[in-house]
Amino acid sequence: MSGDESQKKNALRDEVDSQIEQLDSVISDSDQFSSDAAYLDRLSISLPTQIKDLTKDTSTKLTWMTGFHNS
């Protein structure tokens, strides 16, 4: 195989590798949303309890900001 031919093949391999990386990046970014959903699920369970604990006197900034009122 000539030097030119070898160089050409390397360039083609790089091109294909770059396209595969592009695909992997899209797959990885779409998987990220599962983590986001898990994070929000965790917050939706833990935050109301924490907020209620902190807003028993209904007088903190948190109470005012969130509208939680543990009367």
Binding site: R13, Q19, V26, I27, A37, L47, S59, K61, L62, W64
Partner: protein, 281 residues
């Protein structure tokens, strides 16, 4: 978070649909790419080049469409995530404030609520540095000095200590004219400058605080001073606005008019004619 609870199932359905669509198209394309890598070594370069060109066009077209779908999801979830992160941050801060308040040497007035508490160093006009906690309530700014005093020393080393807490500044928030950031000394870079308006006896208070907290503290001052905190509180507790606005305009003792502005956080004024202290809320 209520938004998330309502939106959760729709969002999960959207995620599943987008992920399924992306993987069902990306995986065959990925396999095709692996086959092309093999083909580069074993097949005619020109033929493979043409196949790679077609492959690249399809990958570009696919990723562009996939990115659009992902951006759509991101805009849906971005706001919820930001809201959740902000709430987590506020919970930590309020937890700290409530804890500090529980250990403080003073008490809040009836109906008064703590908004923020920050570890701060008060740079006094006499060039002293007092460490302590800066409390912001819906009505006042209070600086409580904290000092460790040695009760017993052995060979100049304190073996028994006691922490003394004392309120050094206790001012109605309505006296605050302006809060800005700036350099507080040669060694301590970041801090806040609080300017007060008349008739406040203190003209300015300077605090050395953590650089990362400066903008947040200024924003909290503005939150209270603008009346937003009061509006949020009223909206939550349901207390009518009219009942909280002081209506005292005459001295109860001599009947003289009270000309002095009654600012947010002031619960009493002194009659300039007879000296009677009048409760205004």
């Amino acid at each position: 978070m209520n938004g998330w609870v309502k939106y959760r199932q729709t969002f999960l359905d959207q995620i599943n649909a987008v992920q399924l669509s992306i993987k069902s198209q990306a995986n065959p394309l990925r396999q095709e790419g692996q086959n092309l890598l093999q083909a580069v070594d074993h097949e005619d370069t020109q033929t493979v080049e043409q196949r790679i060109e077609s492959f690249r066009d399809r990958v570009d077209s696919f990723t562009s469409a996939a990115r659009n779908s992902l951006n759509g999801l991101e805009s849906s979830v971005g706001r919820l995530k930001a809201e959740g992160e902000e709430l987590e941050k506020q919970i930590q801060k309020i937890g700290y404030a409530m804890n500090e308040l529980g250990l403080a040497s003073f008490q809040l007035r009836p109906g008064e609520g703590v908004v923020d508490a920050q570890d701060a160093t008060y740079m006094t006009p006499q060039k002293e540095k007092w460490h302590g906690t800066l409390f912001l309530t819906g009505e006042r700014m209070i600086f409580e000095r904290r000092e460790d005093v040695a009760l017993k020393k052995v060979l100049f080393i304190a073996t028994q200590k006691k922490t003394i807490k004392e309120v050094e500044l206790d001012l109605p928030i309505g006296y605050v004219q302006n809060v800005s950031k700036g350099r507080v000394s040669l060694l301590a870079w970041g801090g806040i400058f609080i300017d007060f308006k008349e008739p406040c006896q203190v003209r300015q208070a300077v605090f050395d605080v953590k650089d990362s907290e400066i903008d947040e503290i200024i924003s909290t001052f503005n939150y209270i001073m603008s009346g937003e905190a009061e509006r949020d509180k009223l909206a939550t507790t349901g207390t009518p606005v009219e009942q909280r606005i002081p209506k005292v305009v005459k001295c109860q003792n001599c009947g003289a008019p009270i000309m002095q502005e009654i600012v947010l956080g002031e619960r009493s004024v002194t009659c300039t004619y007879c000296g009677t202290v009048i409760q205004v809320s």
